[in-house]
Symmetry: C2
């Protein structure tokens, strides 16, 4: 998501940066405009409200991440290798953030989810959809693996949900401890959730 020169993109980037750093509800439009280096009128030209910006930030991030996940999880590789590639990419993103900013950014969706879940917020509904889509993508890969005889699981849906939950929990630890190495176990755990033992992991 390179920083483009137009104001709308600068506002989106500023929102993504600030929502990743602090609680969503503590961030005001004035601060977003300062970070984006645009006048307030410019903000309201593009977005009717902070919430509208947050929805756009979340959508933009999901467009990008969905592309990444689909690219990795539909590759013509065994499911084991696809999941490993997904976890490596996830850990690399957190490592890159640590290198660039000094802090593990965590998951934008997870960060916002815990904050807005106590409220009746369109953001919450959107985040539910996104997590469901994440689970859909992983489920699709698992179903392919079942068809190919690579794995045997009782419920591809529940297994996919477990893998996404494991990613969120591990990213919470990576953020809390500011340590991307917390994610190193993801691959091995997911193999276990898929019913593949240490032998399959070592293979």
């Amino acid at each position: 998501m390179g920083r483009k020169s137009d104001a709308r993109q600068r506002i989106l980037d500023a929102g993504a940066t600030l929502f990743g750093q602090r609680a969503y509800s503590t961030i005001g439009v004035a601060e977003i405009c300062a970070e984006a280096d645009v006048p307030k009128g410019s903000f309201y030209y593009f977005f009717p409200s902070k919430q509208a910006l947050a929805l756009a930030v979340v959508d933009e991030h999901w467009v990008w991440q969905r592309g990444q996940w689909m690219g990795i999880l539909t590759a013509p590789e065994p499911i084991v290798d696809r999941l490993r590639a997904l976890f490596i990419a996830t850990a690399e993103m957190q490592s890159a953030a640590l290198k660039g900013t000094g802090a593990v950014a965590g998951c934008l969706f997870g960060n916002l989810a815990l904050e807005v879940s106590a409220q009746d917020d369109p953001l919450r509904a959107r985040l539910q959809e996104i997590f469901d889509e994440q689970i859909d993508i992983v489920e699709g890969a698992i179903r392919e693996a079942v068809t190919a005889g690579e794995v045997s699981v009782a419920s591809p849906r529940e297994t996919a949900r477990s893998i996404v939950a494991q990613i969120e929990g591990m990213i919470l630890f990576a953020k809390l401890f500011n340590d991307p190495a917390q994610l190193d176990q993801l691959w091995q755990n997911s193999m276990k959730l898929l019913g593949l033992g240490d032998a399959a992991v070592a293979a």
Copy 2:
């Protein structure tokens, strides 16, 4: 954590309620005093700052939860049964919150962790300690199970960390979707993380 009649406890209870509902950084001392029905002077008699209160709230919750976890995970039962009991207790807490307040409360530690992790905060250090202790407790039970020949895992520490991460990830979903049933898979997943297959789960 029944509501006691003294002011200090009322302030602690009010903090626990409010920190579970909204972002920590949006909650002020005045609002906490209103919720606790105490004058501001009373707050500062007991707590030098909101941060001091948050640390006390977190400590009180952990004293209670550590007791619950230790009680369940050191019971003279097979590890499988202990973990199942822990997950049932966890799901019951979220169901009780849903029934009582209309909302799945989520995990106080996880909620705060994602918010304060971008800041240099004594709360963050305390939350790191608490998650480490949670992992210690689960690791202890797994080590006992290994000694008893119930399970065989490469690293009891990493397996324990994975189980706690799985709990956090699933609680995030339970909170986002306001649905404690999201936790139903915890037990089966943990069996898989322990290298026990569906047969062990069904036993």
